[in-house]
């Protein structure tokens, strides 16, 4: 699979294709035309053809796409055919919400351990997973082949913890702290900056009112 040629823009769109194809598969639909998919996704049919042709999902003209095949190919490209082991750092409200979210597990993202700085909650469990002291992260990562760390801690601590995680060999950080992490090139960071998302909403709201 020539993933090198796939642009960042397509990668941004892939999870959405994956979601729609999954829903089609679940409702028993085996084939779909780019035109029909275009109607559902509110994306042009030509955009869909361009995007999906990267993944060899194009059947014969007039027969449409093989839903299951394309779904599985996209899963592979997204790395969803392998299990990922996660640790969560920060058992505050957001951390608890993520730990309770079982859908991640259905996609192969398995939460193995939860860590927090607050000694008062050590030993407590969220969805059966124990909250542990920060000092145990390094050994835990080694013992459980952890590849992704989820950071739901204040930004002042996130920078320091990220450095430590990198020194322990973490390869990917899902960062909810409102700060840019400075990590080596071979460490992947995906940011979820909620307040920035809210500001974009506010911008679009302000702008749509202007044109009223």
């Amino acid at each position: 699979m020539e993933t090198k040629d796939i642009s960042r823009a397509i990668i941004e769109r892939l999870p959405r294709y994956y979601r729609y194809l999954g829903e089609l598969k679940d409702s028993g639909i085996e084939r779909i035309s780019s035109k029909e998919l275009s109607k559902r996704m509110h994306v042009t049919a030509s955009q869909i053809r361009q995007d999906l042709n990267h993944f060899g999902g194009f059947g014969q003209q007039g027969y449409g796409y093989n839903v299951k095949y394309l779904y599985e190919e996209i899963a592979k490209i997204l790395g969803l055919h392998k299990q990922h082991n996660l640790i969560l750092i920060g058992a505050g409200h957001l951390g608890q919400a993520l730990a309770n979210y079982v859908n991640f597990e259905r996609r192969g993202f398995v939460l193995k351990g939860i860590f927090d700085i607050d000694t008062a909650i050590h030993g407590q469990k969220i969805r059966g997973i124990e909250i542990r002291p920060m000092e145990e992260i390094e050994a835990f990562m080694r013992d459980h082949a952890i590849d992704i760390a989820v950071l739901t801690i204040p930004k002042a601590e996130a920078v320091k913890i990220a450095d430590e995680l990198v020194s322990f060999g973490i390869k990917a950080i899902w960062n909810f702290a409102h700060v840019d992490l400075d990590v080596p090139e071979d460490t992947v960071v995906e940011n979820v900056h909620l307040s920035e998302s809210l500001m974009r909403l506010s911008y679009n709201l302000a702008n749509s009112s202007v044109t009223d």
Copy 2:
């Protein structure tokens, strides 16, 4: 202010400029050169000049940017100089996490009401804000000049609730449900699809391993 000319790509970057300028302002820095800002933000100086010149923030050559002025201009463009009144729909784990997040309020996003389908939790409070029955949304929106609804409910319900909110006159939806909402053009939707973010992380992790 000619906001019409501002591209979507700049809008995506604006909240990040706003964050860095806010931090500079808080640490008492009055002026900063594009070169210095470039170093901090890991963006090229020329990109910064191009972006910020849209907002009239360019002082004299060699004097750098006026931090406070630029910060306030960007705040205005993002609509942060006005108060926004929010309701939260869905008091599950994620809803509770968002309701407890006080930083939004500091930026003028004030949570006024919380609604949930579960009668068992009606009357309970999160950060002093009462959880109310869904039937009260319409009257509450009118009485409290609500402009943003935050949806933290399962996707099956989100579509129906979004339709109702639109009929009640909502102008903006911050959507955490993993579904695309079909709303009229003058209703703004900002999606936070956490599982799609996790898939992008997984893709980047898979791809960075390949090149090891």
